[in-house]
Each structure stands twice: as structure tokens, then as C-alpha cells.
């Protein structure tokens, strides 16, 4: 496992060049080009805000707070959608390259992940601009945000490596993943507060790693009050077990990739 990360670090220039090439291809003949990375998250936030806060009058808070909460959820959760788009096809989408050159497939996964991060970063910056512009304030709990962000990235990496490996063998993943992500989004406090969960079942809901990490964002940024140790333990356990299982699966798969792609 360590060897793989050493290889990623050693070949970071290649990963960056791959990302640049993919980005240029993505904006080819697009009039708005990279501006879409700003417009899409704003539009998504607007749509969900209208649905949740206006149509269903949910959230039980003033409008700007609901908007900040929904924006935080949507823009942070977008990372998983980017991973589904760019990381999931990273191995089987580069079949011709892998059949001609000896290349560690995890580099392609890393390139897809870096591309996802670059687009996702734009949304996070937009979020904090809106957060402060709408009067949001942060307290001491915000110091935990970088650590929570790291956990979110690790969870996304685990998911990316898992689905990119699995998609080589079963292409249904490509169709299934966006549906699963949508279900997980509604099952997690992405567009609604943690208080929506019935107290009796709170821990049950928080066993879902997505629910745990977003509950912790609510605690860190929006000041939600609950016992953080349980969701923190859940997310750390999911990340650690996920890393081990996913790497074992990748190690099994990498000897078979070129025979089945």
C-alpha cells in the first residue's frame, strides 16, 4: 500500500499533466469553459434551497441560515459526484493506454481524483464567500474543519478506488453509482439539519459514514449541538477499514485489469 502512494508521489508530474489534458478536453468548444465550475454549484444550491426551504419550509431557521446549510451540504457532497464522474472510469476508460504501456493503474485513479478536487475546490471557495457574506460566524469548533475535510477526502478516495476497480469487472457501477449517491445524500444531513433525525434512531442513522461526516460539518461550521464522538468514531472506522479493504481489492484486481478491460 505504501509503495502505491510512493509511486503516486513520484509521478505527480504525470498526474498533473493528465489532469490538465482532461480539463482542456472537457472545456473544448465550450463558450463558458471553466465558469461552469462556478455556475453548476450555485444553480444546484439555488434549486435545493427553493425545494427544501421555500417549498417545504423545512429547516426551522431563518432563510439565510437554511441557505448556508444547504449550500454547505451540496457543495461538500459534490465531491462524491465528481468522483463518480472522473474517478469511476479512470481504469477501464484508459484501456488502450494500459494495454500498451506498463503503468500503475492507481495513477489514473489519482489523476481522476485530482481533477475532481480541482473542480470541487471552486465550490468550497464559493461556499465560504457566501458564508461570510450572509453573516455566518465561526467559533472554536471550526478548528476541527480541516481534520473533517481530510476525513471527507479520505472517504471520497476510498470510494473512488473501490468503484474504479469494481467498474473494470462490472460496468453496471457506472449507472448504479449516481443512484446510490442520491439515496445516500437524502439519507444524510446534506440538505437538512441533523435535528431532523429522530433522537431514538440518531445513532442508527449515523452509522452511515456520509451521515456522520455531514453531521460533523454541521457541528463544526454551523454550531449544531450533539455528541460528536460517536459520528467521529464511525467515520474514522469507515475510512480505516475502507482503506484496507479497498487496497486489498485493488491488489487483487490489478493483476487482472489488462485481461478484462
Amino acid at each position: 500500500m505504501i509503495e502505491l502512494y510512493r509511486e503516486i508521489w513520484k509521478r505527480r508530474d504525470l498526474i498533473n499533466y493528465m489532469v490538465v489534458g482532461q480539463q482542456q478536453a472537457a472545456v473544448f468548444k465550450s463558450m463558458l469553459g471553466g465558469l461552469w465550475h462556478v455556475l453548476v454549484p450555485l444553480a444546484q444550491t439555488g434549486i435545493y434551497y427553493f425545494l427544501v426551504a421555500v417549498v417545504f419550509s423545512a429547516g426551522g431557521a431563518k432563510a439565510s441560515l437554511s441557505f448556508i446549510m444547504i449550500m454547505m451540504g451540496i457543495l461538500h457532497y459534490a465531491l462524491f459526484y465528481h468522483v463518480a464522474s472522473f474517478v469511476q472510469p479512470a481504469i477501464h476508460g484508459n484501456a488502450s493506454l494500459l494495454l500498451q504501456i506498463k503503468l500503475e493503474p492507481i495513477l489514473l485513479v489519482a489523476a481522476g481524483f485530482v481533477r475532481s478536487l480541482r473542480i470541487w475546490n471552486v465550490g468550497i471557495v464559493i461556499y465560504f464567500i457566501f458564508f461570510f457574506a450572509l453573516g455566518g460566524t465561526i467559533g472554536m469548533k471550526a478548528l476541527a474543519y480541516p481534520f473533517l475535510l481530510l476525513l471527507l477526502l479520505l472517504l471520497a478516495w476510498v470510494m473512488g478506488l473501490l468503484v474504479s476497480t469494481a467498474a473494470v469487472f462490472v460496468r453496471d457501477i457506472e449507472r448504479l453509482l449516481p443512484i446510490l449517491l442520491q439515496i445516500l445524500m437524502y439519507a444524510s444531513p446534506v440538505i437538512y439539519p441533523v435535528s431532523f433525525y429522530p433522537d431514538r434512531y440518531l445513532q442508527l442513522f449515523l452509522l452511515n459514514p456520509f451521515a456522520s461526516i455531514f453531521a460533523l460539518f454541521h457541528w463544526s461550521i454551523l454550531g449544531a449541538e450533539f455528541d460528536v464522538w460517536f459520528p467521529l468514531s464511525v467515520i474514522v472506522a469507515w475510512v480505516l477499514i475502507g482503506l484496507l479493504v479497498t487496497h486489498a481489492f485493488y491488489a487483487w484486481g490489478r493483476q487482472r485489469f489488462t485481461k478484462v478491460i
Binding site: 509521478r11 508530474d13 504525470l14 499533466y17 493528465m18 490538465v20 489534458g21 482532461q22 482542456q24 478536453a25 473544448f28 488502450s96 493506454l97 494500459l98 494495454l99 500498451q100 504501456i101 506498463k102 503503468l103 469487472f169 462490472v170 460496468r171 453496471d172 448504479l176 493483476q255 487482472r256 489488462t258 485481461k259 478484462v260
Partner: protein, 269 residues
Amino acid sequence: MSGRINLENVSIRFRMSYHKISSSTQALAEIGRRITRRWQPEYFTALDNVSLSIGNGDIVGVIGRNGSGKSTLLRTVSGIYYPDKGSVSVTGRVSALLQLCTGFNTQLSGRENIVLGGLTLGLDQVQIREQIGQIIEFAELGEFIDVPMRYYSSGMMSRLSFAMVVSMEPDILLIDETLSVGDLEFQNKSQKAMGRLIEKATCQMIVSHSLDTIRSLCTRVILVESGKIVMDDKPDVVVKEYIQSARVEGETTMAAQVNALLPGGGALQ
């Protein structure tokens, strides 16, 4: 075995493509059939118990009919395929020239693709910077080098790819088929460059259908048939045997075809 390339009892098999699982429905159905022992997947053995040792100074030609396992052998040596049985050990930096234009991104310029291609092949930025001028000059692309590659003709792409290939300094060189590209003048230039590349590498494997190339370049030739090495000897001996077996088979096939066309099955021997 103490060569730079050692293969010991290597076997590689592939699932027949029409049995590949591409959906979870198929996967579930197959699991069901497997449990009930109604069906087992079919496999195609591409390399069958192959043992081979190639040392310093060897230039090994690999010949055989289409689908005999030559390219699989090269891909196994280069580490692209993992063997199902046996072991492969390769000592030294391997450059496998299996196909031109691999890894190019047509949205990037020729110059950017040189960097991307170099990085893909395992060079670092410094090595690429040292060679980039030489590559551009060899490819004869002039001002097009900074133009996105989508505007290149296929010949221009091949020339650039070839220029990158010959700029490398591998210990072990694996070449699949003749890499002749461009117009006549460029072909002459590329053949000379390829000769220099072959001189630089300490050992090589060359897969080619051009028996003249094999005879003139190689110090040793192996004949591959149905995934097995059936002959490993001096170029003249192996090439002669290969031509003879191909001729016999060609005559037999032609006789069978003529017989089938004749009324009543025919009797042409």
C-alpha cells in the same frame, strides 16, 4: 536461468470474450450456473508453459502466425500482463514499443504531448527537457509543435511518436511489428534511428512479420505456435522452418478449399 529476461513455465489464459461478464445480471446468472455446475467459463490459452532466457547482447526475433501469442509474450515481458502460472523476471529498464501514438492527448500541443508521453514512459521533467529539442527536430514538425494535436495529420502524429520512441535509452527494448512511419525520406531516417536504438539497448525482443528484418537484425529467433515456443535457434534455421511450415499449411488449405468447390467434394490432392 541468469539472463536479463527470464520466463519460467509461464502460462497466460484469457476468458473467451463472449463469456466476459459486463453486467451484474450476467454475473448473478453465471454464479447461479456455476453453483448448479451447469456451465463453466471457457478459456483461451495465449501462452502455454513458456520458458525463455534472454541475456545481454541478444537480439531475439519472435515470429509466428497471427494469434499465435507473440504480442502476448511481449506484453508479459513488459509487465502489462501478469502470468496465471510461472514467473517472469526482468532486470533493467524496459521500453516496450508496442504501438505508436499511445497516450497522446489531442487537446494538448505537440510540445505538451512530448512532456506527457515522456512522463508516461517514466522519464522525469529534467530528462524530457534535455531531449525535447532533439525530438522536435527529429519529428520535423516545425511551427506545428505548439499547435494542438487535433490539427495534426496521422503521419505527423506518428512522426512525433516515433521521435519520442527513438529518443529513449532503454536497457531492454521490446518492439512489436515494424515501426515504419512517414514518407520515404522519413522512413529512411527512422530506420537508421531504429538501428541506433537497437545498438544502445543491451537486449531486445522484436516481433515482426518481416522475415528479412528478423534475419538481418536478430541473433536468435523463436517461433511461437499456439502459445508455445516450438523452435529457438539461429535466424536462418527458424525462418526456413517457418516458411516451410507456412507453405505446407497454405497448400493444404488451398487444396481443401478447391476440393470443397469441386462438384462432389472433388479429389484434388
